[in-house]
């Protein structure tokens, strides 16, 4: 059994790790696998995964759709759907190798697609929105099918198992990316489900997340007002959509979005100058329901870089380090030192204080 | 000095101040015994007319006309505490203090004993019983003097 989609809220503890080469140089997945493997004890074998940016330079203008299918019937239906709405340039099985610890994988597929131009213009939607709605449509309405990732020149590789086994399974050492994020999962209440592993994505956004969002119910109902369908019962999905809403749909600067999800405490607002206080107050007033509450540390990956963030009272660990051309972020310092024994800088960001790693020359995510 | 002041806008006219004054000046310090077994006169006068009421008790005034008028020396103003109090053993009930008190705050003993009864600010207890037990904070115990007259 590959596990089934949960019907109740998932609670889990986790390990996260991320490496960005700020100069955009791509490097093998080996390092991220080593880093996440060091935090083996933070996972329980019920989920691991990786997001990789820059892996498909040959298809960089097409949406790379990674899929899980429980069976061929599901695949047939989705193929039909994709064919109707997209032009499929490549449709292939994602290469994997036999790994003892990995059992019962679903059918793992990838497509490189472009929206069907006629359908796109009929919909009146922006291209990204067209893709996002299609993804949510598949996830909500196609039983046995799950969109693993849907961005350009990026992809997510995840499954049930320890992250290092998952990496090996997907042969990640063969991929080269300028940004890698990874996740090892420790769910407490559900059997592993391949779709439920992290990273969670929408378009270019990917999230790895350690923690539990106690505001989930509020966030979810808020997102629903903007036509997001939270079907995975995971915090990570909701977080992804929140960023998608604020950054893509509302076109907010990243630091504004950060002030919404990890709003400064009111006691801090009192000490701010008028202009900043007004900004923060306005954000809080409008995006109060986007506030992420409860313990978390997340890495939001994107084609331009990443954002790492703790909850505002820092109930989960997060460590950051830098060397000449790379920025590292992880749940534990040791996971960084494993791959970069002498970073130039290493620190533990305060609760609610965003750490933004960007490719050189990019002004914001 | 700290004195009891009435705030008539909050006085209910319930006269609980009297009840607690009597109790606190009884031997037993027990309400029921004070009323049923003892003869204790309340040292407070509650004036009531229509919607207006307030409790009035000795103002412990600076000039203390009662002290000056007292023919036996029973009535004295304590120089340290400012409290005007009387020595029941010396009081003969001549009522000269009643004649002298411009507030009408000195009472005759209600049970026919030839002694007077007046507020002693519950000197030994801290906050006077009337203040402590006023259900509506219509009595307050505070020092309103700007500077201490010595």
């Amino acid at each position: 059994m590959r596990g089934s989609r949960p019907t109740e809220k998932i609670m889990s503890g986790c390990a996260i790790s991320g490496i960005l080469n700020r100069r955009g140089k791509c490097f093998s997945g080996k390092e991220i696998m080593d880093s996440i493997a060091l935090m083996h004890d933070r996972s329980n074998g019920l989920g691991g995964g990786f997001a990789a940016y820059g892996i498909y330079p040959d298809h960089k203008d097409e949406y790379a759709i990674h899929m899980f299918y429980d069976d061929l019937e599901a695949k047939e239906k989705v193929d039909y759907f994709l064919n109707r709405h997209f032009v499929i340039l490549v449709s292939e099985k994602i290469p994997t190798r036999e790994v003892e610890a990995i059992n019962n994988p679903p059918i793992i597929w990838r497509y490189f697609v472009r929206p069907d131009e006629r359908k796109l213009s009929e919909s009146g939607l922006e291209e990204d929105e067209y893709v996002a709605q299609s993804v949510m449509n598949i996830n909500a309405n196609y039983r046995g099918a799950f969109v693993v990732s849907s961005g350009k020149n990026m992809g997510v590789f995840k499954g049930v198992g320890y992250p290092e086994d998952i990496g090996e399974f997907y042969k990640l050492e063969e991929y080269e990316a300028y940004l890698w994020t990874a996740h090892g999962r420790f769910p407490t209440n559900t059997p592993g489900w391949w779709g439920g592993a992290h990273p969670f994505t929408l378009l270019d956004w990917s999230i790895v997340h350690n923690g539990e969002i106690s505001s989930y119910g509020a966030n979810k109902r808020y997102l629903e007002m903007f036509d997001y369908k939270c079907t995975m019962q995971t915090d990570t999905e909701a977080i992804t959509y929140l960023f998608d809403l604020m950054l893509r749909k509302h076109n907010l600067p990243l630091e504004v979005a950060v002030k919404a999800v990890a709003a400064p405490l009111w006691s801090e607002v009192e000490r701010m100058d008028d202009e900043e206080a007004k900004l923060v107050k306005s954000i809080r007033a409008v995006y109060g329901s986007a506030l992420l509450n409860g313990p978390f540390s997340i890495i939001l990956g994107h084609k331009d870089g990443f954002l790492a963030l703790n909850d505002r009272i820092k109930l989960r660990p997060l460590v950051v380090a830098e060397d000449e051309e790379r920025t590292y972020v992880a749940s534990e310092e040791a996971a960084i030192r494993e791959i970069c024994s002498k970073p130039e800088k290493l620190w533990s960001p305060r609760g609610g204080e965003p750490v933004i790693g960007l490719l050189e020359g990019r002004s914001g995510v | 000095m700290k004195k009891v002041y009435a705030r008539e806008e909050y006085c209910l006219g319930c006269k609980l101040c009297e009840v607690y004054c009597v109790t606190n000046h009884s031997q037993s310090k027990d309400i029921i015994k004070a009323y049923k077994l003892e003869e204790v006169t309340s040292r407070i006068i509650v004036e009531t007319k229509g919607a207006v009421s307030f409790a009035l008790q000795c103002r412990h005034c600076e000039g203390s006309p009662c002290v000056k008028a007292c023919i036996t020396g029973a009535m004295q103003k304590d120089e340290e505490t400012g409290i005007v109090d009387y020595d029941e053993d010396k009081c003969v009930g001549c009522w000269t203090c009643i004649m002298a008190c411009p507030f009408g705050a000195v009472k005759r003993d209600e049970f026919g004993n030839k002694v007077i009864s007046k507020c002693d600010l519950c000197a030994e207890e801290g906050e006077p019983a009337c203040v402590e037990n006023c259900p509506n904070a219509a009595l307050i115990f505070e020092d309103r003097e700007v500077e201490e007259v010595c």
Binding site: - | R59, I71, T72, I98, A100, V106
Partner: protein, 419 residues
């Protein structure tokens, strides 16, 4: 600074306390021909009636003189005041010099011309010694019948005490009523009735012309010709200022020693206070002797402060009395028998309860009152007299049973009670 006070009663003690408010150091000498430390003279009737002991009559505790650093020369008479050398001469020839002198010698009994007035068992009733004398006369003579001349405060207090001692008491009074100085006719009748119920026999509009008997009095002969048996007599016609001490000085004497508001006589550094003085009567707006205890103490207090260098005035003098006989109390003050129609009179009377209340107003202000047998809160009226506060708008409330501060306008009341 040397202070000398002649007289050891209310005014004298008031003066000590007044001086000490201002001057903790100066030497105070108090001289009295009475041997007792200060006692309450109004209590002599209680003493006579065995209600209080001599100890209980003490006006101030024994430590008073020590605590106030007073040299008390008691039981010795001042024979002369020398204003030029600023000294007083005592009967044992001691001289006491003063920087400031207070004459507080009080009153002396007024004794009209009567035959046989010097017989034994005839007393006045002013000092403790008078009470002691009467008590011993009663004991020694096993006296049973007493005639008291005078139905004033003193006479009646004596009468009350003697009734309580078991004597048959007859009071002879020249006026047509008892307590004529402090009551009107109506109130006096109620009081007289009460006193008669208590056993006192009254003969009004008559007086004693002769005391009968050999050495001891055995009876009196009245002007009307009536003769009464008695084995004890008390002469309580009145009191006059005891001014004899300043004879031979230039201190101005009218009825009493004439003083200004500061209690100064016309002679520098000589003050007078109490029953011997003639100060300002605020109700009659003229000088007058006001021989009452609170007045004496207050005058003494002010005189003392001024002697020690303060600048206090006393203009609150007016007659007022609180007194009671056989549980019938009364408080009266000021003008109670107005002579002219400038005055307005309010009266409330409940005859069966012997309650009588009378308030005398002039120009909308209270100038006098009688509260008989319902004296509660009478002090408010005393205060109003003193303050000369207009009461026109609450006139109708003044006599009400529940009269009180609540009847005053809120602003005044609030201000008064907030003091």
């Amino acid at each position: 600074m040397d202070y000398v006070i002649i007289g050891n009663s209310a005014a004298g003690i008031g003066a000590v306390e007044g001086i000490r408010r201002v001057d903790r150091e100066g030497k105070i000498t108090i001289i009295s021909d009475e041997e007792y430390s200060a006692y309450s003279r109004p209590l002599i009737s209680y003493y006579l009636a065995d209600k209080v002991t001599q100890e209980e009559m003490k006006y101030r505790p024994d430590e008073f003189y020590n605590q106030n650093n007073v040299d008390a020369k008691l039981g010795i008479k001042v024979t002369e005041v020398n204003e030029d050398d600023k000294k007083v001469l005592l009967e044992d020839d001691e001289e006491v010099t003063y920087d400031k002198l207070l004459v507080a010698t009080g009153g002396a009994p007024f004794i009209p011309e009567m035959k046989g007035v010097n017989k034994e068992n005839i007393s006045n009733f002013i000092k403790l010694d008078d009470a002691k004398a009467i008590a011993s006369d009663i004991k020694e003579s096993e006296a049973e019948e007493v005639v008291i001349l005078g139905a004033g405060l003193i006479g009646l207090k004596a009468a009350e005490a003697l009734i309580k001692k078991g004597l048959k008491v007859t009071v002879v009074e020249l006026a047509d009523r008892v307590l004529s100085a402090i009551l009107d006719k109506e109130a006096a009748d109620l009081v007289q009735e009460h006193l008669e119920e208590a056993g006192i026999n009254f003969i009004l509009e008559d007086t004693i012309i002769e005391f009968l008997g050999d050495e001891k009095v055995t009876g009196v002969k009245l002007k009307s010709g009536q003769e009464l048996d008695c084995d004890l007599a008390v002469v309580a016609v009145g009191v006059k200022p005891n001014v004899s001490i300043v004879k031979g000085t230039n201190v101005e004497v009218n009825r009493g020693l004439v003083v200004n508001d500061k209690l100064e006589t016309n002679i520098d550094d000589i003050y007078a206070a109490g029953d011997v003085s003639e100060g300002y009567d605020m109700l009659h707006e003229m000088a007058g002797v006001i021989p009452i205890w609170p007045n004496a103490y207050n005058q003494g207090l002010v005189a003392g402060q001024n002697m020690a260098g303060s600048n206090e005035s006393y203009r609150e003098g007016f007659a007022r009395n609180a007194i009671g006989f056989f549980d019938l109390s009364m408080i009266t003050a000021g003008i109670i028998n107005p002579a002219t129609d400038e005055y307005e009179v309010l009266i409330d009377k409940v005859e069966e309860d012997k309650v009588y209340k009378k308030i005398v107003l002039k120009d909308g202000k209270i100038v006098g009152f009688i509260y008989l047998n319902d004296v509660d809160r009478a002090g408010i009226l005393t205060g109003l007299i003193k303050e000369q506060k207009g009461v026109e708008d609450i006139k109708n409330q003044l006599l009400a049973d529940d009269f009180g501060y609540i009847d005053f306008d809120k602003e005044w009341r609030t201000q008064k009670l907030a003091e």
